[in-house]
């Protein structure tokens, strides 16, 4: 090795350069993978029971359970207590491995691929349930097994929940037993509505009237807040104004393809191609031109809820009822001078219940103790004492029980939270005592309108058309979002552009593929 003698001038430079090279080599790659964590909303409590004694549990076993989420600070305390109880009840103890939110979706499939030794695992429709069920990662649960080892669950779970959890006619999970409704609501400043004498908000028109009145009369308050540039490919109101208003269901939020909920044949259509969408564009354009949302809404970097709390924004739509309810409670606690309220702007529509596979627990295919694992799930869901302990932590520390079905946050509430104990949500769940009554009322009024339909559990597999799916997503961000937020002057031309670009991106091919999958799905159900 010979060194070329260079001028001395280059020496400090060379040092600096090697540093740059190393720094720049570091800065490559890196993929942010946003993971959606659904929040569990509690339901009123009912029965409690005793576990059946017919099973032989003379042999002590150690169970291993995999849950998604960060390990809670008080894990040792809570699970120490749990294990003492479990030892007594089913002669078993359980040890949990937590897959942190930051990389759970990479680790989760690897646990199966490497066939690690574990007995129970959290699963959900958004957490590889179909995928691993088809790959043989879970133990098939037969009715006999459930009757024998999880009798309480068998008794309290509605039949439709079991059916929804079946993959190709076979059951692989014990779904959570909890009714949630997917429909979205709006949250708005009630004091401003009263001040300007506006009608009650219960439809698209009354909501528009409210927003436009705020825009015209309240200087310094933006009527409607959204974070449109957050990767969501729709106008934030669309779930209410487009889907709920028309009783449509979007198959996959990254594609503009939907079906009518009451259409038994499951005809897939392109939402952007409909007259309803064109009408909605006129509705949005009117709002945009009236100054209802910021001209820079697509670049908004502020947190909408914080802006509402600070009195800078008057309303948001469309959010989960649970989130809106929690925000309402927060406002009452932190800033009672501003009055907010929740409204459903599509009260007459069909309501979609969250399917049961939103959360659940499965048994690993190679578990050595599937019986004891099922017995544990049975206790987690249906034993009041164990359910309270595992859902809320230690009474008096992590939570304060109020009666049988409510709780308030304890001094150490933050030390036992943030992981997927939703897997055993059940009617025993307690409700946050500060959760507002209005939200409950809306929820109760929805219960009777819950609509079940054949395609409820259909999930689209985009593997064959992934190039087209990727490009359609880009077209939606680039052409549909500005159009929906009224930022394109000529909506007819903007709409024609959108349709043209979608065709170029291959929407027809994706639609045909989806239709084929829907048809096959429906045929298999018969």
């Amino acid at each position: 090795m010979k060194m070329k003698t260079k001028k001395a001038t280059l020496l400090p430079l060379a040092a600096a350069l090697s540093l740059t090279a190393i720094l720049s080599a570091c800065s490559g790659g890196g993929n942010a993978e946003p993971s959606a964590a659904p929040t569990a909303s509690p339901a009123p409590s009912a029965a409690a029971g005793e576990s059946s004694g017919a099973v032989d549990t003379s042999q002590e076993v150690k169970l291993k359970m995999i849950l998604v989420g960060g390990k809670p600070v008080d894990y040792d305390k809570v699970f120490g207590e749990l294990n003492a109880k479990l030892k007594e009840k089913i002669n078993a103890t359980v040890d949990v491995e937590f897959l942190d939110w930051s990389d759970w979706n990479q680790k989760y499939p690897l646990k199966f691929a490497a066939n690690e030794d574990f007995d129970l695992v959290y699963t959900a429709n958004w957490a590889y349930y179909n995928d691993q069920a088809l790959k043989g990662g879970f133990l098939e649960l037969t009715e006999d097994m459930l009757k024998k080892y999880a009798p309480q669950t068998m008794e309290s779970m509605p039949a439709v929940s079991w059916d929804q959890a079946k993959v190709d006619g076979k059951l692989y999970m014990v779904p959570n037993n909890n009714v949630e409704v997917n429909d979205k609501v709006v949250l708005y400043r009630e004091d401003l509505r009263k001040k300007h004498n506006l009608p009650e908000i219960n439809s698209l028109d009354t909501y528009a009237q409210y927003l436009k009145a705020i825009a015209a009369n309240e200087k310094g308050i933006i009527p409607y807040g959204a974070k449109a540039g957050d990767g969501w490919k729709w106008h934030e109101m669309d779930q209410a104004t487009l889907e709920q208003h028309n009783d449509w269901n979007l198959v996959d939020t990254t594609l503009p393809l939907a079906y009518k909920m009451d259409d038994a044949t499951g005809q897939i259509f392109n939402i952007y191609d409909t007259q309803e969408f064109k009408d909605l564009l006129v509705y949005y354009k009117d709002l945009a031109d009236s100054g209802v949302w910021s001209k820079n809404v697509v670049s908004n970097k502020n947190d909408v809820w914080q802006d509402i709390k600070a009195g800078k924004v008057a309303s948001y739509a469309a959010q989960n009822l649970g989130t809106a309810g929690a925000n309402l409670a927060e406002m009452r606690r932190d800033n009672p001078s501003l009055e907010v309220a929740i409204a459903d702007i599509t009260p007459d529509g069909k309501k979609i219940a969250a399917i049961s596979t939103q959360n659940g627990m499965a048994v690993h295919a190679t578990s050595k103790n599937p019986e004891r694992a099922l017995m544990l799930i049975d206790l987690l869901q249906n034993d009041k004492e164990i359910h309270d302990l595992t859902m809320y932590g230690i009474a008096g520390e992590n939570y304060v029980p109020e009666g049988d079905d409510k709780y308030t946050a304890g001094p150490a509430a933050g030390n036992y939270t943030g992981f997927s104990n939703w897997g055993w949500n059940s009617p025993l769940n307690r409700k946050d005592a500060s959760y507002p009554k209005e939200a409950d009322d809306i929820f109760n009024s929805w219960q009777s309108k819950i609509y079940h339909f054949p395609l409820e559990t259909f999930v689209f597999n985009g593997e064959k058309v992934k190039a087209e799916v990727a490009n359609i997503g880009n077209v939606m961000t680039r052409y549909a979002i500005p159009l929906e937020y009224g930022l394109i002057k000529d909506i007819d031309k903007g709409h024609a552009d959108l349709i043209k670009q979608l065709k170029a991106a291959g929407i027809d091919k994706v639609q045909a593929e989806m239709q084929a999958q829907v048809d096959a799905f429906l045929a298999a159900q018969k």
Binding site: M1, M3, K7, A8, T9, L10, L11, P12, L13, A16, L17, S18, T20, A21, I22, S24, A25, C26, G29, N31, A32, E33, P34, N105, Q106, P109, L110, A113, K135, I222, G229, D230, G231, T254, S294, K295, N296, V298, S299, N300, K301, G462, K466, A467, E468, V469, A470, N471, G473, N474, T477, R478, Y479, A480, I481, P482, L487, A504, A505, G506
Partner: protein
């Protein structure tokens, strides 16, 4: 060189070689070995098969990028932005370095240098938020000032035409300090006797800058340029994503390969398709750097990288 000379060389230069070792290990571990992952660009990745066991799928992963019709637009944007950044940034950095060296006393030089360096440490996320509060149509500082002056507000976030200029300015602002230090180091290393001799011969300060400083900075400039050119097809994701975000109205002038691919693939997390896009950029970068190096070689053999 005699037989066995290798080992005697090793022992002779052992200190220097030891100093080289961390860098060699670094690149081996984090650049060369992972390069085998390139095969993913041609595979349909699944966790069970892993990197080498997953099935091949030919050029399928490249389809989304080239069938979209946007490949040319984003590739052109990426290259043009980077060329603009390289030229503008280097010119400003050299000018700042010369100015600091010639005009400021050492004490002030340090202060200015630190001040210029400051933006380099501000993360793009923060810069994006600052820009949003400056340029926001409804309450941004720019429009407030224009309002006081009785002028029409400017809608920066809905006008694609402003963005090339804006991004070049922001990039220059952020990179100025770092590059200035690099050039300042090079100037400080120049032989003072050349300047003294020139001064005695009656050269004024501008003549000294044009005939001594700038020509002597050429080697530095060329190396920095060559290094930058290799990355000409890699958009600065942090910058573009935080400044522009997913604002579709601005895409015609601001979309670069990295942001385009990010948007297209965050929805489906397809590792193979991401690898394909990275592979495309690497190939383009590789070809460019070969061509650039060849051009430099023709101009001056000693100044080429290899």
């Amino acid at each position: 060189m005699n037989r066995g000379g290798f080992w005697s060389d090793v022992s002779k230069y052992r200190v220097l070689l030891l100093m080289l070792l961390p860098a060699v290990l670094f690149f081996l571990l984090f650049a060369y070995i992972p390069m085998a992952g390139i095969v993913l660009a041609f595979k349909q990745f699944n966790y069970n098969g892993g990197i080498f066991g997953s099935p091949w799928n030919g050029l399928d992963n490249f389809r989304f990028f080239f069938e979209s019709g946007d490949a040319w637009r984003v590739t052109r944007n990426t290259a043009l932005y980077n060329i603009a950044f390289i030229i503008v940034n280097n010119v400003l950095q050299i000018a700042a370095a010369i100015l600091l060296f010639e005009a400021a006393r050492p004490f002030f030089r340090k202060i200015f240098q630190t001040m210029l360096f400051l933006p380099y440490f501000i993360s793009w996320v923060v810069v994006g938020a600052i820009a949003y509060n400056l340029f926001n149509y409804d309450y941004g500082m720019l429009n407030s000032v224009l309002g006081w002056l009785g002028m029409e507000p400017i809608d920066v976030y809905n006008t694609a035409a402003y963005w090339p200029l804006l991004l070049v300015l922001i990039s220059a602002w952020k990179a100025l300090g770092y590059g200035t230090v690099m050039y300042l180091a090079a100037i400080t290393g120049l032989d003072r006797e050349m300047y003294e001799a020139a001064e005695i011969d009656g050269a004024n300060i501008f003549q000294r800058i044009i005939h001594i400083t700038i020509p002597n900075l050429m080697p530095t400039l060329i190396i920095l340029m060559l290094l930058a050119i290799g990355n000409i097809f890699r958009g600065d994701f942090g910058m573009f994503y935080n400044m522009v975000g997913t604002n579709g109205i601005l895409f015609s002038t601001t979309d670069v390969i990295d942001t385009y691919v990010f948007r297209a693939l965050t929805a489906n997390n397809d590792i193979g398709m991401s690898a394909a896009a990275g592979f495309y950029q690497s190939i383009l970068g590789f070809v460019t750097i070969l061509v650039a190096n060849w051009a430099v070689r023709r101009y001056d053999k000693d100044r080429a990288l290899f």
